[in-house]
């Protein structure tokens, strides 16, 4: 039993400053140990009284010692070769500067915190993602809308819009999904020759199987799994294990902490079972938080690899941030009423994962960038034959150039602000890849000069809760920009020279 008390005593010693503990902890513990034995020899009541007095003394002593150190220390230490010891009292300028600093610092951080948290706290989006594909087999690109939360606070179903030709769409009338969707991918999952849809949502990983007419039956994988872990924020279809069938790569961001448990975010591979179903490969890819993934052969081995765009990862008290960054997070949490939850977020670098051909991914070890990344697209931007990456960030977007071995170096930085989606396509018909960036309520075209340098092109606006996709929806052979909302849509027709004109 004495061991328990000694352990408790050691824990309470943490109330004192580290320097104090270094000087006195051993001595105090030794004395406590001896007095504990003496008290125990006098009976249980004496032992109890002794423990109460000791613990109360530790609490009071610890507080007094911390206050004493705090009062005796200059607020702003000025260090020179020999060091300057600041006087304790009086109206020294440095001391008053220190007070001023401490008053102004929270104000500045409050303002910074509001700005930085704006995206996270106000990121509701009617249509989170648009996937284009010929769903009903009429040769035109139809649109599947992943509908997230809406401005009125209610959840709404995903929608399928039929392309009637020349960029005119009608609602199919189908309401798919149950709860807040994030992203979708189209492809023939069950190998029946018709385009199916894979959707990541709070309800789970949804597969909508096409009956050939564009009517869907729904299969839900991992229902409810998503609520805590946000593990299907972005979904992409590709043959990851070389069996000729489409598998799924799902990303998760940003984890969840609540109800006494931690739910780390990770990405996953779902392998096609050959019968139209998907099964988890079991691999947890990354422990950060990935907002998006782009798949392609990054190291030239003929196998599809993954470029993960990582956002903010949520941590609790195990936060590995430096002290100042932790304080900033703490301050933001306090400013937004999140105190007590011990939840912190921080940006994580983007990562490259190489596929072994069996659908198992290995981290290449690269840590690319420090931004909160929201979207990524792969394409050979500088015409060297290797897939480069364009990453859409909360901040300047980035071009990462591939050396052919899957190693990336930072290239051009583009614009600023929040980017939700990036698309690479030849917009001006010159044979190289151009870029379309979709932000919160506007987008921009960046045109490739042929050497891999992107120059600012046309901007276009849309409603705040809308999302964009890029494809030839008008059937004229020129890439268009499709803007979708829950109740409306708009087509920006590609002219063919990198410019776009909006349909009325």
């Amino acid at each position: 039993m004495n061991t328990v008390f000694i352990q408790l005593y050691r824990r309470c010693l943490q109330l004192f400053s580290p320097h104090f503990r270094q000087e006195f902890a051993d001595e105090m513990e030794e004395l406590f140990r001896e007095r504990l034995m003496l008290a125990a020899a006098h009976g249980r009541l004496a032992l109890l009284l002794f423990l109460v007095r000791e613990l109360a003394g530790l609490l009071a002593g610890g507080i007094r010692q911390r206050v004493y150190v705090w009062r005796a220390r200059p607020l702003l230490a000025v260090s020179t070769g020999g060091g300057i010891t600041m006087p304790r009292r009086g109206g020294q300028p440095w001391r008053w500067a220190g007070y001023l600093f401490l008053v102004l610092l929270p104000l500045v951080m409050l303002l910074a915190g509001r700005h930085l948290w704006y995206v996270t706290l106000d990121s509701t989006y009617d249509v989170r993602h648009v996937a284009l594909g010929d769903v009903n087999g009429d040769g035109r690109l139809d649109a599947f809308l992943s509908v997230g939360s809406v401005g009125d606070g209610y959840w709404r179903a995903d929608r399928v819009l039929w392309n009637e030709g020349d960029g005119r769409f009608t609602d199919s009338g189908q309401e798919l999904g149950e709860w807040r969707s994030f992203a979708a991918a189209v492809g023939d999952i069950n190998n029946d020759g018709y385009v199916d849809i894979l959707s990541g949502s709070y309800s789970g990983l949804m597969v909508y199987q096409n009956d050939s007419s564009g009517a869907f039956t729904t299969t839900i994988y991992a229902p409810g799994d998503f609520v805590h872990r946000s593990s299907q924020l972005n979904v992409v279809l590709a043959d990851l294990d070389g069996d000729g069938r489409l598998d799924a790569f799902t990303t998760g961001c940003c984890g969840w902490i609540g109800q006494g448990a931690r739910y780390p975010a990770y990405s996953e591979v779902w392998l096609n079972d050959g019968a139209g179903g998907l099964r988890r490969s079991g691999q947890h890819i990354g422990q950060t938080g990935s907002n998006a993934v782009a798949l392609g052969d990054l190291n030239g081995d003929g196998i599809i690899d993954a470029f993960l765009a990582n956002g903010r990862t949520i941590h609790d008290q195990d936060n590995p941030l430096p002290a100042m960054a932790r304080f900033r997070q703490w301050w933001r949490a306090m400013a937004w009423g999140l105190m007590g939850q011990n939840i912190y977020t921080f940006n994580t670098p983007n990562t490259v994962w190489l596929n072994d051909g069996q659908g198992r991914f290995m981290d290449s070890g690269q840590q690319l960038g420090q931004s909160e990344s929201m979207a990524v697209a792969l394409g050979d931007i500088n015409d060297d034959g290797f897939l480069d990456a364009v990453v859409g960030n909360n901040g300047a977007d980035e071009v990462w150039l591939n050396d052919g071995q899957g190693n990336f170096r930072l290239g051009q930085r583009l614009g600023r602000g929040l980017t939700w989606s990036v698309y690479l396509a030849d917009l001006d018909g010159d044979g190289d890849l151009d870029l379309v960036v979709g932000g919160e309520n506007n987008g921009r075209v960046w045109l490739n000069d042929g050497s891999g340098h992107l120059r600012r092109g046309q901007g276009f606006g849309y409603g705040r809760y809308q999302s964009i996709a890029v494809g030839d929806v008008t059937g004229d052979g020129i890439v268009d920009i499709f803007v979708a909302g829950v109740e409306t849509y708009q087509v920006w027709r590609g002219v063919g020279d990198g410019r776009f004109t909006p349909d009325p």
Partner: protein
Amino acid sequence: MPHQEDDISHLLPLREPTFFILLSLSEGEKHGYAIIKDVAALSNGKVNLSTGTLYEALARLLDQLLIERVEGRGDAGGDAPELEAHPGRPRKAYRLTPKGGQVVQAEMARLQSLILAAKRRLAGQAGS
């Protein structure tokens, strides 16, 4: 963060445990347990120091240069012979510095002046 030796006015008045600790050390160097026992005896059992309170005070008094640490002395047990037989590392003892002695004297003088003032007033009231 040592402070100027000649300036002791800002250290007064002393808290009761601090005064008793200094008073205890005025007799000679003592280690922690001996100080606790001595303070209890000096205060007729009214001040029972916990280790937290004791070492917080000792750290502060060391910082203020009122006491100093004596390493490796085993004969500073005061009236705690039951602990002197305990094997182990040599105990760290503490002793009063000249400045500490001045502070004790100054505190005593302060207390005496308080008592004297009280006596005068009470004597005057009795006379009237």
